[in-house]
Amino acid sequence: MNVLTAHRGPTTVPHVTRRSATDLVTSALVIGAVVAVVVIGLSTPRFMTLDNAKAIITSASLVGIAALGLTLIMVGGSAVSLAISPTVAAVGMVFLSTQSLGLLPALAVALVAGALLTGLQGAIVGYAAANPVVLTIAASFAISGLATGISGGTSVSPDGTGYDLLNATPGGIPLCVYVLVALTALVEWVLRCTAFGRSLYLVGENRPAARAAGLLVGRTTTVAWLAAGALFAVTAAFTAAFNTSANVNLGGTLTFDAIAAVLAGGTAIAGGRGSAVRTLAGALLIAAVSDILLLRGYSTGVQVMVKGLIVLFVVVIVHLRTKERHA
């Protein structure tokens, strides 16, 4: 039995009239929630300012790039990675410690490190169908252990200033925002227009059927995780450059933020559906909600709690609507 997919018992076949009723209720709930966010936002002082809008898109962009990677993982049916924060921390440390090579080589090393760290987990999930949640919990522990062991538990400072280019703000907007937009377009194109993208949706929708149809399930999954790792590395480089030093805590609450962004975009955790554009919208929503809470003076704890509740809300709504379509 799979803990990620819903069990369809005999009682789950809804009556025709009830079906439209559920649909109506879920739509009303979603519209109500969005209206509530907008109203609360508008009534929050300093929310509707240009500076605040910039702050929102900047914080959405770092989470958003990592969330794009997680989108690939989720669309392909491997649920989530709970190792995003430690991966970003470890890759950020690698990025800063290789600054003496120059910016581009350091970036390349970081991308390869991120892709390999995450791709290895993807290979185990793809070829052996290991439970991704438990596996990535183990991986998160292993990666932070390795990072602590190699760095001796200290912060890494860069020996070069090439990384500062990543903090550039062309046109008054941080570089990472442009990168987020470009990568969203790229991931959307890969998902929609390439053979890899189409097989990823099929593997995510129904793994046994995809295998029976002759798709290379293991390879497709591994490639998705490799790409996800490279995207985590992009977030890592920007985060490390912004902080100008990196330690094992660099990732912060990124794992939860990225999961919240992807799920808030309406991507189903069971796989087979979702898109980069949805994730972008989800990242903006989560960043806006965090911003409102911050402006209203709520603590980090409350912000994390609200993210969890948003995820719960979206998971329930998406589940109710999906059950509908299958019924």
């Binding site: 039995m1 799979n2 803990v3 990620l4 997919t5 819903a6 069990h7 369809r8 018992g9 005999p10 789950t12 649920a79 989530v80 709970l82 185990i124 070829y127 052996a128 169908a129 290991a130 439970n131 949640v133 438990v134 596996l135 919990i137 183990a138 991986a139 998160s140 522990f141 292993a142 932070s144 252990g145 390795l146 602590t148 062991g149 538990g153 293991g218 939860f256 999961i259 919240a260 799920l263 955790i269 069971a270 603590s299 980090t300 704890g301 409350v302 912000q303 994390v304 709690m305 609200v306 993210k307 969890g308 509740l309 995820v311 719960l312 998971v315 329930v316 589940h319 109710l320 059950k323």
Partner: protein, 335 residues
């Protein structure tokens, strides 16, 4: 209860794991400078007391084929409530923790048993929300517990090796074993985990059983957090992932499977005891923190990979491919 059969994985794995770690523990003086005393046995049992309730909470949900990721969130909240509401009298704090755990379990059970949601995303969301709630309750700070009498009592030495805390933990396992062994709940839980539709068709009230399992899981996690806070004399809003990793490793070593329908409380107790002994060995041999961290992560990763449903399939395919190549190259040589 049927007689244990050592050939079955849910009996063999915990037995072997416990035997190996016991031998490793007894031989500590031969491969390190450390010597063994009754105090080390007591320390191992204290680690068991710390991890046991969490492993039992996780293990029960694994028997029914679900996975309660939120156990560490409930554990953190239970510890925080005990410290903040139990300053006046410890009973208020523990009661608040148990009630919160039961409420969280009811929510999970309702969503997973009633609305048929998959457990992983639901408990992931509540895990995030509970960590946030705990941090909000404490302002993100570690809160200390001032009633030193209680702190001393829970860790008091009893019968050389035990403490009230470890006795409570072992008692919980024995209670679960008796409940699941003597009533039909044990069989029904495994039936629900093995094949939910068949269990339903056979007349098992699946939804009520799922709600009950998650309520038990929530209360056990909260109690685990409460006991830990009382012992430490403080509550930490973010316990990190280590408790979850050790509890999951203990449950899997205890003969549980992520696929569900397998295992029982006694195997689970053996599995988590093996993990506790390993932790004590690591302390005795003074391994650096990151080495033990890597070791636990590797252990869990290996168990999960071995438990993975398609591993056998992939290995068979690789072996077939190698053999075919062998045969082909031999054929080429011979011709």
């Amino acid at each position: 209860m049927s007689r244990p059969d050592l050939r079955r994985p849910e009996t063999a794995l915990p037995a072997v794991a416990l035997a190996i770690t016991l031998i490793g523990f007894a031989l500590v003086p031969t491969y390190s400078d450390a010597t063994l005393s009754s105090f080390d046995v007591q320390s191992a049992l204290q680690i068991l007391a710390r991890l046991g309730p969490l492993a039992l909470a996780l293990g029960l949900t694994m028997i029914v084929g679900e996975f309660d990721l939120s156990v560490v969130g409930t554990y953190a909240l239970g510890g925080m409530l005990t410290v903040q509401l139990g300053q006046e009298h410890v009973a208020y704090g523990v009661l608040a923790a148990l009630l919160a755990g039961a409420a969280i379990g009811l929510l999970h059970g309702g969503l997973i048993g009633g609305l048929k949601l998959p457990s992983m995303p639901v408990t992931l969301a509540t895990y995030i929300a509970l960590l946030g709630l705990t941090s909000a309750l404490s302002g993100g700070l570690t809160k200390s517990y001032t009633n030193a009498e209680v702190t001393l009592w829970v860790d008091r030495t009893v019968m050389t090796y035990f403490s009230p805390r470890s006795l409570i933990t072992i008692g919980l396992f024995l209670m679960a074993a008796v409940l699941l062994g003597a009533t039909r709940w044990g069989r029904e839980l495994r039936a629900v985990g093995g094949d939910r539709r068949a269990a339903r068709a056979a007349g098992v009230n699946v939804d009520r059983l799922l709600v009950g399992t998650f309520v038990a899981s929530g209360m056990l996690s909260a109690l685990g957090g409460a006991l830990l806070s009382l012992s430490l004399g403080s509550a930490n809003p973010d316990p990190g992932v280590q408790p979850l990793i050790l509890a999951a490793a203990g449950a899997l070593l205890g003969g549980m499977s992520l696929a569900g329908g397998r295992g029982g409380p006694i195997g689970l107790l053996a599995g988590i005891s093996a993990v506790a002994l390993l932790a004590q060995i690591a302390t005795l041999t003074a391994l650096p923190g990151y080495v033990t961290q890597l070791f636990y992560a590797g252990l869990l990763a290996i168990i999960v990979a071995v438990d993975a449903p398609d591993l056998h399939h992939t290995l068979t395919r690789i072996r077939t491919r190698i053999r075919t190549q062998d045969v082909r190259s031999r054929a080429v040589h011979e011709s």
